[in-house]
Symmetry: C2
Subunit: 293 residues, 2 copies
């Protein structure tokens, strides 16, 4: 069901944030520090150790295997989890679609203004304490410290060198945070307000990524601890999940034509680019993916 690889704690994240675009901004005092709910915020995260994201092998286990695992939960062995989060289970929605993209090598567009992800990261949640408050959030960790380029002739990704300087590590709070467990479990939770940008100076609270770099989305469930000194329980109060089939390469323009076609075929907003064939909505051929050299 869930792998046990220790991906390390929440990576390096700074706290330069961005103003709330205009949405709710409730304040939580959680183990992750003072979290500001709404769009995307940066936060000084969690652990006692400050790990530089570049050069750090975040993923030491198998990272590109698309897998049949339901949810890959992080389980830091050093700290026991609060029962409010320990029993939480997460199920990725649209898993078949994610896998289809992942087999081709998912690409996500980044723009200056911010671009949504497609597929959208959506999950079904189980096992929360119905009456407790939780915040849900996402962040993105580099899959390696490489920069890539795409060889059109061979239709393959090549390593183009060492990674560019790391972008400001931001997190995106689900805008409904905080909310009761009952509310989160009532229906599918969708991160459709999350946007990716390549603008290092982004002011809109979007997630900042380096183009031509690979990333792994990560999902965090944070129990909003009502205790006054909740900061002390940082490690116990959150649980993180990784779905390897959601990893992707950030790009400013699509590289792999098959990805473009699959996006057009499956994203309703790209319907304008469909030739016709309202039926060919399924099963492109599987293609193995992996950086070549």
């Amino acid at each position: 069901m869930a792998g046990d690889a220790d991906w390390g704690n929440l990576g390096t994240q700074d706290w330069q944030a961005g103003r709330a675009s205009q949405r709710k901004r409730a304040f939580l005092s959680t183990g992750l520090g003072v979290l500001a709910s709404s769009e995307t915020y940066s936060l000084p995260v969690s652990s006692s150790s400050w790990e530089p994201p570049v050069g750090t092998p975040f993923l030491s286990g198998p990272c590109t295997s698309s897998s049949e695992a339901q949810a890959m939960a992080e389980t830091p062995s050093q700290s026991p989890k609060n029962p409010r989060v320990s029993g939480v289970t997460v199920q990725l929605e649209m898993k078949p679609l994610w896998e289809e993209f992942n087999q081709l090598g998912t690409e996500m567009i980044v723009t200056k203004a911010g671009r949504r992800m497609f597929p959208t990261f959506q999950v079904k949640i189980l096992g929360m304490d119905t009456l407790a408050d939780y915040a849900l959030l996402m962040d993105f960790i580099p899959l390696d410290d490489k920069r890539y380029r795409y060889a059109f002739h061979s239709s393959a990704w090549l390593v183009a060198g060492k990674a560019d300087p790391a972008t400001p590590g931001r997190v995106h709070f689900h805008p409904d945070s905080p909310a009761k467990g009952a509310q989160w479990m009532r229906q599918i939770v969708s991160f459709d307000k999350l946007k990716l940008t390549n603008n290092l100076l982004d002011d809109n609270g979007h997630i900042i990524l380096n183009s031509m770099h690979r990333y792994q989305p990560r999902f965090h469930v944070v129990f909003v601890d009502p205790r006054k000194d909740s900061e002390r329980y940082a490690q116990e109060n959150f649980k993180s999940f990784i779905f390897t089939e959601t990893q992707f390469t950030a790009v400013t323009a699509y590289q792999n034509h098959r990805i473009t076609q699959l996006k057009i075929a499956s994203n309703p907003f790209a319907k304008g680019f469909r030739e016709s064939d309202p039926d060919s909505w399924s099963t492109p051929s599987a293609l193995s993916w992996g950086p070549t050299i």
Copy 2:
């Protein structure tokens, strides 16, 4: 600044509610009872007395004067207010537009599916405790117990008889509720998700009104009391505001042609019906309004 008329406490409201359409639904234990945040809910309200909304003279003072008052705050003399709400001040946005409509006799469309109000009820809030939690909500009280009809020849509203049976009294929680005072005061609070319906069996949590009846929108600021027995402080923890220039007649189709034209001229979504004249965005002639006979 604020009138002192005692409008009575929150009127009759039942608790038949409706499912949350799909938004956040945090639960508050407040003086108003257990409040469910999100779209629109019905609630068993507040006071010890249960006042039938029909036949009760909610408004004993002058009710159609458009007035220059900033906010008409209700101030029940019997109960002292919690300092968390007593200092709260509210300012109606788009006041000139509301007044323009009110002079003609504002009409609001009600449909089975639910129709937004135009103008949208929007307020600027001052004087909250920055760190305290508040819920903001609206309800609608009958301005009288009459049913009206419009005489096209004389362009005037006539009393058509006694009011129809009262509709289920629902309240609409601002979807961002609950939130900190700081958040509410950060920018204009807009009730643009609020919808009006004439469907007595409405299942979407919309505000149910009788067509051809007159209503007064009411705005409530509720301090979310963290005390365990907060129900006991019901009366102290909320403050209500009435802007007489926002009163209107519910209709299924516009009656007064001038209202139609002003809606078309001022609502961006109705731009398709504008003849031309991108400049004639201002000052229709003033017209006195009032039920004739």
